[in-house]
Every structure is written in structure tokens, then in C-alpha cells.
């Protein structure tokens, strides 16, 4: 092994190259393989598995959030439809009740009119009858008065 003597000593020195160099290189290469097997591979596996797990979990969560949002909008739409429906039903019911009221009113009015008419007609006929009767009686009385006056003479 060539030895450099840079600092004057006959043996040793700071720049004393010898078989330490290649042996150290071999040692470091061996250490690389050992650390690869004991450290880099297993730890890398665990870290990457966790990264995968986190990524898939996040993707799943995002999917779920999207699903929830979709359902929410769907429900909101349904709610809106139901509200419109209810309003329509209320409007219809109001109209129905109004119609019924109007019908009933019209019926009642016409009935009242009819009975009034009937009553009036009855009154008329009875009055006519009474008038005729009175007229007949007046005639009779006139006749009687005339007869009596004539008889006195």
C-alpha cells in the first residue's frame, strides 16, 4: 500500500492512506445493503401504505360528501315540489269552498224568491176572493136596501 507522508512523520500522519480506505468503502457498501433491508424497505413500505390509506380514505370521504350533497339537493327539490303542491291544494280548497258557498247562496236566494212569489200569489188570490165575496155581499145588501125602500113606498 502506498503511504503518503505529508506531515513529516516517518509513520502515520494526517494523510496516511492505507487499506483503511478500501475496507471502509466495502463496509459502507455493506451498510447500504443492510440498511436497505432493515430500514429503507420496511419503513418505506409502512409509510407508503399509510399514504395510500390516507389517500383512499380521503377519496372515499370526498365521494361520500358528494353523495351527501347530491341527496341534499334532491331532498331540497322534493321539499320545494311538496310546498308547491301544498299551495296548489290550499288554493283549490279555497276555490272549492267559495264555489260551494256561492252555490248554496244562489240556491237559498232562489228558494226564498220562489216561496215569496208563491205567498204573494196566494195573497192575491185570497184578496181577489175576498173582494168578490165583498162585492157579492155588497150587491146583496144593495138589492136588499132597494127592495126595502121600494117596499116602504
Amino acid at each position: 500500500m502506498p503511504t503518503l507522508f505529508l506531515f513529516g512523520a516517518s509513520e502515520g500522519g494526517l494523510f496516511d492512506f492505507d487499506a483503511t480506505l478500501p475496507l471502509m468503502a466495502v463496509q459502507v457498501v455493506l451498510l447500504t445493503f443492510i440498511l436497505n433491508a432493515l430500514f429503507f424497505k420496511p419503513v418505506g413500505k409502512v409509510v407508503e401504505e399509510r399514504e395510500d390509506y390516507v389517500n383512499t380514505s380521503r377519496a372515499e370521504a370526498k365521494k361520500k360528501i358528494a353523495e351527501v350533497e347530491r341527496l341534499e339537493t334532491e331532498l331540497k327539490d322534493q321539499l320545494k315540489e311538496a310546498r308547491l303542491e301544498a299551495q296548489k291544494v290550499i288554493l283549490e280548497a279555497e276555490q272549492d269552498s267559495e264555489n260551494l258557498y256561492k252555490e248554496a247562496l244562489a240556491l237559498a236566494t232562489s228558494e226564498a224568491n220562489a216561496s215569496r212569489e208563491k205567498a204573494r200569489r196566494e195573497i192575491d188570490s185570497q184578496r181577489d176572493e175576498a173582494l168578490n165575496q165583498l162585492k157579492g155581499e155588497a150587491d146583496n145588501l144593495g138589492d136588499l136596501i132597494i127592495e126595502r125602500l121600494l117596499a116602504k113606498k
Binding site: F7, F15, D16, M24, A25, V28, L31, L35, V43, V46
Partner: protein
């Protein structure tokens, strides 16, 4: 004794001294390997404890490991790019973790309590052999990354955007490992020396802020080394249009 004998003739600074181990006809710096094995052992123990029972809801050490993993992934991804960062993440991460535990281990563990027959224990990254080894590994990997990703088209990089760049790019291939290794080596060694000298001169209070500064530098150096390594690899695999 050291390289500062005339400045601090009474200092017990053992700079440039090594504990040599003889393996066949190879000589290695024993203190570097002793500390690096201890620190690598601590790192591996932490990793083993943290990955023993991993759950989707992280607890305790798993949190720390996942934080480190995330940090290294971000570093690799921003520098290398989305396409190939996975291939290089272990290498960048190992560089970062190894340099980080070496720097902090060198600064935090009271190695001085252990007496060696020669040299002293300290940060493995304060030895030029370690930093050059790491820097050469980076060089090899960015060549490999470029060639394996783009084949021979990798060499278009040398004449991009104009052929005038060719000599500069070739020089860059040498300056990259040089600057990488010397930056780390210089910073960590300087930190150790400053702390040692201050402790020697003023043993109380004064070295503490410098030690904190040293911890900060150590962390920054680990980050710089890893970031530059990732940047070089990213530069090599980048598609020019």
C-alpha cells in the same frame, strides 16, 4: 508526536497518530474501525428496535425512523428527480446516516476515557481514508447512475451545452471527490482540534459553545455530503434537451 508539537509542546494532542492493525501485508487504522463499528452497531440497534413492531399509528422510535426516512426521501427526490430517486435513496440515506452518526458520535461520546496504545478514538470521518472512501463511492455511483440510465449517451453531458465545456467537466470529475472528501475531513478534524485545544487551554465553560457549534457543523456536513452526492447522481441521470 502530532503535527503541532512546536505550538503546544505540552499538549496531549495525538494528531496523525494511528493504531495500526496488520492484516496479512495490509495495514489499517484500527481506531477508525473500532469507532465506526460501535457507531454502526448503535445505528443498526436503533433501526432494529424501531422497525421491530411497526404500526400504522407510529409510536416511539418508529416516529424517529419515519421522520428520517421522510427527510432522506425528500432530499433524494429533490436532488435526483422523481424518476430514479428510489434506486438511490438507500445509498444517499446510508451516506447521510453514517456520516451523521460518525460526526455526532465523535463529538458526543467521551472516547478519551478509553486509552489506546497509540492514537486515539474519535469520529471515523476525521480520518482521510474514510472520507476519501465515501467520496470515491459517490464518484462510482454517479458514473454508474449515468451509464446505467442513459448508456453511452451519458457522455453527452461532457459536451453539454458546448464542447468547450469538455475539459472543465473532466476536471470536475476529479474535483468532485476531492472537494467532497476534504470538506468533510477538514471540518470534522478542525472541530475536534478546536475543541481539544480549547479544552486544553480553558477547561471550563469556554469549550461548551464551541462544542455546540461543532455539533451544528457535524450535522450540516452530513447534510451537505448527502445532498451533493444526490445532486451529482441527479446531474448524471438528468436528460438534456
Amino acid at each position: 508526536m502530532g503535527f503541532l508539537p512546536f505550538v503546544f509542546p505540552f499538549a496531549e494532542l495525538e494528531v496523525g497518530q494511528h493504531l495500526y492493525w496488520q492484516i496479512g501485508n495490509l495495514r489499517i487504522h484500527g481506531q477508525v474501525f473500532m469507532t465506526s463499528w460501535l457507531l454502526i452497531g448503535a445505528l443498526l440497534a436503533l433501526v432494529v428496535i424501531g422497525t421491530k413492531k411497526m404500526e400504522r399509528d407510529p409510536k416511539g422510535v418508529q416516529n424517529l425512523l419515519e421522520f428520517l426516512w421522510d427527510y432522506i426521501r425528500d432530499l433524494a427526490r429533490t436532488q435526483i428527480g422523481e424518476k430514479v430517486y428510489r434506486d438511490w435513496m438507500p445509498f444517499i440515506g446510508t451516506l447521510f446516516l453514517f456520516i451523521f452518526v460518525s460526526n455526532w458520535g465523535g463529538a458526543l461520546v467521551p472516547w478519551k476515557l478509553i486509552e489506546l496504545p497509540s492514537g486515539e478514538l474519535g469520529a471515523p470521518t476525521a480520518d482521510i481514508n474514510t472520507t476519501v472512501a465515501l467520496a470515491l463511492l459517490v464518484s462510482l455511483s454517479y458514473f454508474y447512475a449515468g451509464l446505467s440510465n442513459k448508456g453511452l449517451r451519458y457522455f453527452e453531458y461532457y459536451v453539454h451545452p458546448t464542447p468547450i465545456m469538455l475539459p472543465f467537466k473532466i476536471v470536475e470529475d476529479f474535483t468532485k471527490p476531492l472537494s467532497l472528501s476534504f470538506r468533510l475531513f477538514g471540518n470534522i478534524l478542525a472541530d475536534e482540534l478546536v475543541v481539544a485545544v480549547l479544552v486544553f487551554l480553558v477547561p471550563l465553560v469556554l469549550p461548551v459553545p464551541v462544542m455546540f457549534l461543532g455539533l451544528f457543523t457535524s450535522a450540516i456536513q452530513a447534510l451537505i455530503f448527502a445532498t451533493l452526492a444526490a445532486y451529482y447522481i441527479g446531474e448524471a441521470v438528468e436528460e438534456h434537451h
